[in-house]
Symmetry: C2
Subunit: 369 residues, 2 copies
C-alpha cells in the first residue's frame, strides 16, 4: 500500500489535468479541496494498488458531475463527495471498503483523495476512463459489465437523489437532469462493485500515471528541457503509447456555451512557429476531435491535450482564451479503450460524431518500426 | 369503511375533472386505468374515512406527476403508481397501511384507486389539495408541516429515483426535472405520514365529494334540469361554499405550450347568451386567474372550472379547443385553503402572479345574507 502526501498533489493534479484532455474540471480546485482534507486528516491518504484490492471488498466510484464551466463559479463546500458516498452506502445497506476514481482527469482524480482523507478509506490506484469523458456511461466499468446505478447524487444543501435505471445511458440522462436542476455541479457515487470485478474492469495505475506525467512536466521545466519532448519520451513507458505534437499556435477564437449541462464548443488555433494553417478542436467538456484543414488529426477516445506552449501547463476547456500560445498533443489510448465494445460507448459514435474512429498512429501516418 | 365499485368510477372521474379546475390530467384515462385494475381485483376498493385511519398507520400519498398534455399521448402502462409506492416503502423500510390521494383532481383521484385495487390497501377519502394544483409543494400536507420528501418517482421502464430534499420546493424542482427527463409523465409517492398526522393536515371527504359532484352533473342532465344551477345548489352542502357562473361564451383562442414540464397558456372566451365582452383564463396545468375586461373575476386557490355549456362536462386544459361553447364556474374554497400559510404556498404569489388573493365572494360583490 503506497501513501500519498500533500506534496504529491501538485504533480498529480497537473497530470490529471493532462489526462482530462480539456475536461474533468479545473484541477486547481480539486487540488485545494484534497489538500485541505488531507491536512485535517494528518497529511496522507492510502493509495491501494488495484491488484491489492480484496476480492470481496465493496468498491465505490465517486467524484463530481457537471459542466467544468460551472465548477469554477460554484465551488463545492467540501463535504459533498463524502455525502454522496454515504447516501449510496445507506441505499446498499453496506459500507464501502475502498473508493475508486471514475475518471483519471481533472478534479475527479483528487476528489477521491478528499474522500479518502475524510473517511480513512483507501483510494484505488485505477479508474474507469483512463482519462476524462463527459458522460457517466463512458466507463470501462460499464463497457465490461458493471451497471452505473444505483447512483447517488448530492448537492451543497444536503439534497440528495438515488437513481435506479435500466441502463447506464438512462442513469446518465436522469443524473444530468438532476445535476442541471442542482445548479450544474454535484457529487456522485456509482458503479458499486466487488474487488474481484474492479480488477477486471478498471484501468490500473492511472493515479500514479497522473503523478508521473505531472512530475515529468514539472521537472523538465525546472531543468530547462523541452517538456513536450520529455512527455512524448515518457508515454511509451506507460500503458499509453504514442504521443505527438499535433499543432502549435495561438488561439484565434473560442466558442463555448454551457448547454444541456455541459461545456460545449470549439477552439480555433492559428499556426505559429512553422505550423501552417489552422487547427480546430471541438469539445463537450473534453476535447473530442482535432481537425487541420478539415482533416481529422486525432479523435476520441485518443487524447487531445492543449498545453500552454511556454509553461507546458495543461489548459482545461473553461480556461481557453483568445491569444493563448498553445501546443496540442495527441496521445494514443491503450487497446482496452479501442475495442468495438469500448468504441461503441466512448468512441466518435458515442458523441454523435460522423467520423469513424481512426487511431492516431494511422491518422499521422506513422509506420511502426 | 365504504366500498367503491366500478359503477362509482364514472361519477367520481367527472367530479374529479371538475375539482381539477382544468388540470390533474384527463380523467378518462385515469378512470379506464382504475376500472381495469378494479375489474382484475374483483370489482371493489375500500374507501376509508379519514377519521377511521388508525393513528399509527403509515399513510402514503401517490399519483401521477407531469404535464396533462403529455398524459394523453404517453399513456401509462398501469403498474407505475404501484411501483412508486413500493420504491418509497423500500426506502422507508416499512409497508404502507393506506394510500391517500395528493390531489382531488383529474387522474390523481382515480390512480389511488388503481393502487388500492392492485395492492389491497384502503384508499383514504381525503386529499392534500382539495382540488388540483400544478406543483407538489402545493399541499395542505406541506402547509401544515409534513415534508414531501422522501419522494419516489418511477417511469414505465422501471427506472426510479428517490429524492431527499431540504424543502418541498426543492423536491418539486428536482422531481419536475426528473419527470421532464422521463418524458413528461411519471408516477410518484410522497408525503409519508402517520394516521394521526394525516387527520390533522388533510382535506377530508374529497373523494366522495368528487363522486357527489359527478353524480349531480350526470343526474341533472338525465332529468333535464340545469346542471349548473344544480351544482351551485349542491356546493353549499359541501365544505366548498359559494359557486357562481362567471361567464358563458365561445372559445375564441387557445394558447397552450408544454413548457418546463407544465401545460402553460391561456384561453380567451367571447361572450354568448347575453354575456358581453371576453373572459381570459390563464393556466399552469390548472386554471389560475379568470379576467373579464382586465378585471379579476376569480383567482387561485378559488376554483375556476370550464364546462361544456351543453353537456356540463368539465373540460381539462389539454382539451380546450377553438369554438367550444363553455360555461365558466367559480367556486370559493374552504377557509383552511385561505389561511396566510396556505396562500403563501398556493395563492397567487405561489405562482408568481402580481394580483393579491381576493375571495370570489368579494370579487363578485356578494353580500352574505
Amino acid at each position: 500500500m503506497a501513501v500519498l502526501t500533500i506534496a504529491d498533489l501538485d504533480d498529480l493534479a497537473r497530470g490529471a489535468a493532462f489526462l482530462g484532455t480539456g475536461g474533468g474540471g479545473d484541477p486547481y480546485i480539486g487540488r485545494l479541496m484534497a489538500q485541505e482534507a488531507m491536512r485535517e486528516a494528518g497529511g496522507t491518504v492510502e493509495l491501494m494498488d488495484l491488484s491489492a484490492v480484496p476480492d470481496d471488498a465493496l468498491v465505490i466510484a465517486a467524484g463530481n458531475m457537471g459542466a467544468p464551466t460551472v465548477l469554477i463559479e460554484k465551488i463545492p463546500g467540501g463535504d459533498e463527495p463524502v455525502q454522496a458516498l454515504r447516501r449510496l452506502e445507506a441505499h446498499l445497506g453496506r459500507p464501502a471498503d475502498a473508493v475508486i476514481p471514475f475518471e483519471a482527469g481533472g478534479v475527479n482524480s483528487t476528489l477521491p483523495l478528499l474522500i479518502g482523507a475524510k473517511t480513512g478509506l483507501p483510494v484505488v490506484d485505477a479508474d474507469g476512463m483512463g482519462r476524462a469523458f463527459p458522460e457517466l456511461q463512458m466507463e470501462t466499468f460499464g463497457v465490461y459489465g458493471v451497471p452505473a446505478p444505483p447512483l447517488a447524487i448530492v448537492n451543497e444543501f444536503g439534497d440528495s437523489v438515488v437513481i435506479e435505471a435500466h441502463s447506464d445511458r438512462m442513469a446518465e440522462w436522469i443524473a444530468r437532469g438532476v445535476t442541471i436542476r442542482m445548479g450544474g455541479q454535484t457529487s456522485i457515487a456509482e458503479y458499486a462493485m466487488d474487488g474481484a470485478t474492479a480488477k477486471r474492469v478498471s484501468i490500473p495505475g492511472t493515479m500514479t500515471l497522473a503523478q508521473r506525467i505531472g512530475r515529468c512536466l514539472r521537472e523538465s521545466r525546472q531543468r530547462h528541457i523541452d517538456p513536450f519532448a520529455a512527455l512524448i519520451d515518457l508515454l511509451p513507458h506507460t500503458h499509453y503509447g504514442l504521443g505527438r505534437v499535433l499543432f502549435t499556435g495561438k488561439i484565434a477564437d473560442v466558442l463555448r456555451e454551457t448547454r444541456h449541462g455541459f461545456a460545449i464548443g470549439r477552439a480555433r488555433i492559428a499556426g505559429l512557429d512553422g505550423w501552417i494553417g489552422e487547427m480546430e478542436i471541438t469539445f463537450q467538456n473534453e476535447n473530442l476531435v482535432a481537425r487541420q484543414g478539415g482533416q481529422v488529426r486525432a479523435i476520441v477516445p485518443d487524447l487531445i491535450c492543449i498545453l500552454d506552449s511556454e509553461t507546458a501547463e495543461p489548459i482545461t476547456t473553461e480556461w481557453l482564451r483568445y491569444g493563448q500560445r498553445v501546443t496540442v498533443l495527441g496521445v494514443g489510448v491503450p487497446e482496452i479503450m479501442r475495442t468495438p465494445e469500448a468504441l461503441a460507448v466512448f468512441g466518435p459514435q458515442g458523441f454523435g460524431l460522423d467520423e469513424p474512429f481512426v487511431p492516431i498512429e494511422a491518422l499521422l501516418d506513422i509506420v511502426p518500426c
